[in-house]
């Protein structure tokens, strides 16, 4: 690891505007610093703001909930306001990382989580536009089984790694960012940027800005599902996942939020799927149409082509589950009339 200047901020005011990077749980940043991928000259440790409660409260906020940026993943997953009102978020948090990491990692840090693309994480690979703009993309012509099929560009197809962000986007989460010039709010789905020609610019985050809170509006439905498929049962990133929140009234979809994980270069909100659902009967046929709509612009390569049919199935299952028609194992629930 390269030497850096370390400071501890005792208040938000003290932290905002500082150069370099903020250190919260450190589960991504320290890892990447050891790998020499991240090389901040200045590090401001904001964990005192977790300990003193300034940025770690989870509270009611109008009809929604406000999550302090330094609330831990495990604290958030288990909080009654989240577990009861935003079940897909709670499920997504618990489906990510390991208990130890969830205890350390913060919610603000989770949305800043960086990709697991091996070409990005290992300096021995010379090609990575995200790490070294203009150097090329090792994954496109190389190993890309886990890479994104949605939102990629000729410069980068790195998958966004977060589970929680997928559910947060599905619930319409926004970030409160405080900078030297004051506070602003950005919807999470806009905060994560598509790679385009500039995959090294990942977020709408300005110099010196600190994420202070995540706010969730009132959910459109009480039930929500986060369905994650992966190569092993735990401590593994998604090959494909779906957060689905459905408001079904008298057999018809009144409102729908569908977001995909493990397949996009950012948490992948699918307005196409949502449009295919709203106003339609809550049936398997409708859900299959939504899956087709979500994937119509997918650009798979040879090794990740399986993600297209897999994701279609993930979407259908998540929607059927969110509609209360099947259980987690895919068995019809009692009284279901799909």
């Amino acid at each position: 690891m390269r030497p850096f200047e370390y400071a501890r901020a005792q208040s938000v005011a003290e932290a905002v505007g500082r150069p370099g990077k903020f250190l919260a749980g450190g589960t991504t940043l320290m890892d990447l610093m050891k790998l020499d991928v991240e090389r901040p000259a200045h590090l401001t440790d904001i964990t005192p703001l977790r300990e003193n409660g300034e940025l770690s409260q989870i509270v009611e906020d109008g009809g929604g909930v406000k999550i302090g940026a330094l609330a831990s993943m495990s604290q958030t997953a288990e909080h009654p306001l989240i577990a009861e009102r935003y079940p897909a978020l709670s499920q997504a948090l618990l489906a990510g990382a390991s208990q130890q990491i969830r205890n350390m990692a913060s919610m603000g840090g989770n949305v800043m989580q960086r990709t697991r693309c091996p070409y990005f994480r290992d300096l021995a690979f010379k090609e990575c536009n995200k790490r070294d703009p203009g150097s090329g993309c090792g994954a496109i012509g190389g190993h890309h089984r886990k890479m994104a099929i949605l939102g990629g560009s000729d410069a980068c197809i790195a998958t966004h790694a977060s589970d929680a962000s997928v559910a947060l986007v599905a619930y319409g989460a926004a970030l409160t960012l405080r900078g030297p010039d004051g506070e602003r709010r950005v919807k999470l789905e806009d905060f994560n940027l598509l790679p385009g020609e500039t995959p090294h610019i990942e977020h709408d985050l300005r110099e010196g800005e600190l994420i202070v809170a995540l706010t969730l509006p009132a959910p459109i439905a009480a039930d929500g599902v986060y369905l994650k498929v992966r190569d092993r049962e735990s401590y593994e990133f998604a090959l494909s996942s779906c957060a689905a929140v459905l408001d079904v009234q008298e057999g018809k979809v009144n409102a729908a939020h569908v977001t995909l994980g493990g397949v996009g270069t950012r948490p992948w909100r699918s307005p196409e799927a949502e449009a295919a659902l709203v106003g339609q009967p809550a049936t398997r046929e409708t859900f299959e149409a939504a899956a087709r709509a979500a994937l119509q612009h997918a650009h798979p390569l040879a090794q990740n082509a399986f993600k297209v049919p897999l994701t279609a199935r993930v979407i259908v299952r998540a929607l059927m589950q969110a509609a209360g028609q099947i259980d987690e194992a895919g068995n019809p629930t009692t009284g279901a009339n799909a």
């Binding site: 690891m1 390269r2 030497p3 020499d36 697991r116 091996p118 070409y119 290992d122 300096l123 021995a124 690979f125 090792g138 012509g141 190389g142 190993h143 089984r145 498929v229 992966r230 190569d231 092993r232 049962e233 735990s234 401590y235 593994e236 090959l239 399986f306 049919p309 897999l310 199935r313 993930v314 259908v316 299952r317 099947i326 194992a329 895919g330 068995n331």
Partner: protein, 764 residues
């Protein structure tokens, strides 16, 4: 010598807790990287980032400017010459490629520099600042590239690995059905939890002490002695605890001499701990394999012939064969067999043994093949195997009788415990609602390697008995196993036994691999403990002051830390005998030659070699046996295979410690699940570099992946293998398990995947 009948067996065969467990839990067990020596300097190894070529230049300016940097060793450094050594199996080194001796790079991750500093942080920082330029050359980094690429590297046919019997041409003509299939396994890396580490401290120019985790102290001792021109006795290896090895710590790798050279150059002790990524570099791996079979069956579904044409990967300079033919050449009755294996050189570096080398990889292909053949013959997979069972009196490979074989009982016991009778043969016919269920099985076998061994037993005035053996506890329970053997031999409480391992100055022992330590070193400990008992008995019965004076030896029993006439109170404690002998300690040293071995193995052991007898010995063919049954549950939409249940029954001879043996067997089966579903070292074809050199992306099973695992040990002692009747438990659990999983997946889905890992994309 055998444990006498009628003596209490309080420990041997029982579930005995690890005697070193409390120390490990409290952090009081000192591992190699935890020895803190005065003036200790910290080293970081720098690994090559190309698979083939040479170092063009190294700019050390920025690295040397880091405060605290003491030295940087590269091939340009002076005073670090090493003499050549031979790689296993011809010598005890892991590779003959010497570190830092030339600018030539012949494998990815090859050590190219060592940075030494006052602190680990300074060494790490300086290592990042070292600017190395390479002249890159064409490479073949994978088995596939080696097989299909231009003849940049040679292919080496291995006649000694071939096996031929009968007349395959005739056998194929006699067949009513023939079948061909090819099975592939990828590169695996051992990844023990504890990283490779070494702390080296010189005493003058001729003596060096090495603290390191190793499965074979003599490999380090003799390899370093040869490289540095030292007397082997002047290389002192200390390795009391090993946090797993699985074969990677059996032989010596380049980081060891590199740290030793740095310590000599600096005149200070140097500590080097590899990073997890470096655990994927110059410390060996399980080679990728491809096994092409042709088989013939007669109308009775019995083999008429089998050919196996195998290609396996190896490094550029050494030849370590991943012996995929080990299992197919002997497991089933078959008069006509032809086996050949070709080694394909690659720039992936030297490969080495990894838990059941050849048996795990070769067993996968054979046992999936058996499932395919059973289906073709319209037979239950278990019935098909019974029909081709090789009789106890004739090993198909050698024609010799087996020392002991209870494979049919393994089939019965495991099938019963699993409930195999309830299996319906049709694909996808067993469901739990939406979930597909599949049942599969496979046979397991592992050869016996038995080594010459030595041990010392010492009675102390305190009443303790010290057992000394220059062997290793690689996490398998050696301390507890040896303590139990000594305690039963002497009729003592296990807490009165102190076992000392992991020091090259203790009585010499060989390599802790090939599932041999419990039976081989255990035999020497049995001999030493029984020898101590006999000498104390002799002293007592010849001493007129002893209550046992004149009592016949066969009437004396050991118990409560002493000798007693039958079941009476007439007798005395060992310490009372010792006191009258006028000594404060009494010790006995014993050397054991393995069954069917000779003085030759003992001489080899004393010369720093393996000292073992092969599985096919003079009179008997000696193997362990097993049967593994697996249930998988698969979501039909996502095709995520998950193993919900495993039952394995194993014929491994006498079980010495039922608890540690169970851990070995279940651990092996769990690893087999990982082999089937998860494990694969992935290589980037365009750079030849590894893509997943960390434990987040190199997948092994986590707890959530493993349902219930039941290991049944048959417990038939095999006294044709060892005095203890033990054969070995370390490796057989992984053999067959991966195939049983693959076969269960086929039963559930109808998808026949002939390679590992079986990930969902191969099933969709």
């Amino acid at each position: 010598m055998t444990v006498q009948k009628g003596q209490p067996q309080n420990y041997v065969g029982q579930r005995v807790n690890r005697v070193d467990g409390p120390d490990k839990v409290r952090g009081a067990a000192t591992y190699a990287a935890e020895f803190d020596l005065p003036e200790l300097a910290h080293a970081v190894l720098v690994s090559a980032t190309i698979p083939h070529g040479s170092i063009k230049s190294i700019d050390e300016t920025a690295a040397r400017a880091v405060p605290g940097v003491l030295d940087i060793l590269t091939h340009e450094s002076e005073g670090i010459e090493l003499k050549p050594v031979k790689a296993y199996p011809r010598g005890p080194a892991g590779t003959s490629v010497l570190p830092l001796q030339s600018p030539k790079i012949e494998f990815r991750g090859q050590p190219v520099a060592l940075v030494v500093a006052e602190s680990l942080e300074a060494a790490q920082h300086a290592a990042q600042l070292l600017e190395i330029e390479y002249d890159a050359s064409d490479f073949r980094a994978t088995l596939e590239q080696g097989m299909n690429g231009l003849p940049l590297l040679d292919k080496v046919p291995m006649p000694p690995l071939g096996h031929s019997r009968g007349d395959v041409g005739k056998g194929m003509k006699d067949a009513s059905t023939t079948f061909e299939a090819t099975y592939d396994t990828p590169v695996h890396h051992h990844n023990p939890l504890e990283m490779h580490a070494v702390t080296a401290a010189w005493d003058g120019d001729e003596r060096v002490t090495i603290y390191e985790p190793t499965q074979w102290m003599q490999s380090s001792q003799y390899t370093l002695a040869a490289m540095l021109g030292l007397e082997p006795d002047n290389v002192h290896v200390i390795s009391p605890f090993v946090g797993g090895g699985f074969g990677s710590k059996a032989t010596t790798w380049p980081h060891l001499p590199t740290a030793v050279l740095a310590a000599r150059k600096l005149g200070r002790p140097v500590k080097l701990v590899l990073s997890r990524a470096q655990m994927f570099a110059a410390v060996g791996y399980r080679a990728a394999t491809t096994s092409a079979y042709t088989v013939g069956l007669d109308d009775n579904a019995q083999f008429t012939a089998m050919t196996l044409d195998a290609q396996t990967q190896t490094g550029v300079s050494d030849l370590f064969p991943e012996q995929v033919g080990n299992v197919p050449k002997m497991l089933y009755a078959n008069p006509n067999m032809e086996l050949k294996q070709t080694l394909i050189r690659t720039h992936a570096g030297p490969n080495i043994m990894m838990r059941a080398p050849g048996e795990a990889s070769g067993g996968f292909g054979l046992e999936v093949l058996m499932d395919e053949l059973a289906e073709k013959a319209g037979l239950d997979p278990l019935e098909f195997r019974r029909r081709n069972h090789a009789p106890e009196n004739e090993d198909p490979e050698s024609g010799k009788p087996y020392s002991s074989k209870h494979l049919l009982e393994c089939y019965d016991r495991a099938a019963d415990a699993f409930g195999w009778d309830g299996r319906t043969p049709e694909i996808g016919s067993m469901r739990d609602g939406n979930t597909l269920i599949g049942w599969g099985m496979a046979t397991a076998t592992y050869p016996v390697y038995a080594s010459a061994a030595t041990a010392r037993a010492r009675l102390c005035a305190s009443g303790h008995v010290e057992i000394e053996a220059g062997s290793h506890d690689i996490g398998t329970g050696t301390y507890s196993i040896l303590a139990g053997i000594a305690a039963d031999s002497l009729g003592m409480d296990i807490e009165q036994i102190k076992v000392k391992l992991g020091d090259s100055r203790l009585p010499k022992n060989g390599y802790s691999g090939g599932s041999r330590t419990a039976s081989s070193v255990g035999s020497a400990v049995l001999a030493a403990a029984m020898g101590l008992r006999e000498e104390l008995l002799e002293a007592a019965t010849h001493d007129s002051n002893s209550p046992l004076h004149g009592v016949a030896g066969q009437d004396i029993k050991v118990r409560d830390g002493g000798l007693y006439f039958g079941d009476t109170d007439q007798g005395e404690t060992y310490t009372a005998i010792l006191g009258r002998m006028g000594k404060d300690q009494h010790e006995v040293y014993r050397e054991t030659i393995p069954h069917e071995g000779s003085q030759k193995q003992l001489d080899q052991l004393k010369a720093g070699k393996d000292g073992s007898v092969a599985a096919v010995a003079e009179r008997y063919a000696r193997h362990s046996w097993g049967a593994v049954f697996v249930e998988v549950r698969i979501d039909p939409d996502f095709m995520t295979p998950r193993v919900s249940r495993i039952v394995g029954a194993f014929d491994i001879g006498q079980v010495i410690n039922a608890k540690t043996a169970e851990s070995q067997l279940t651990g092996g089966m769990v690893w087999g699940v990982g082999m089937a579903l998860h494990e694969e070292t992935q290589t980037d074809d365009r750079t030849g570099l590894i893509l997943n050199s960390n434990l987040a992306e190199y997948h092994i099973p986590v707890n959530a992946d493993i349902g219930s695992v039941q290991a049944i040990a048959l417990d038939h002692p095999d006294f044709r293998v060892s005095a203890l009747g033990a054969r070995g438990a370390g490796e057989i659990g992984i053999v067959g398990t991966a195939a049983a999983v693959a076969n269960a997946i086929y039963h559930a889905t109808g998808k026949r995947v002939r390679e590992t890992p079986i990930t969902l994309d191969k099933l969709l």
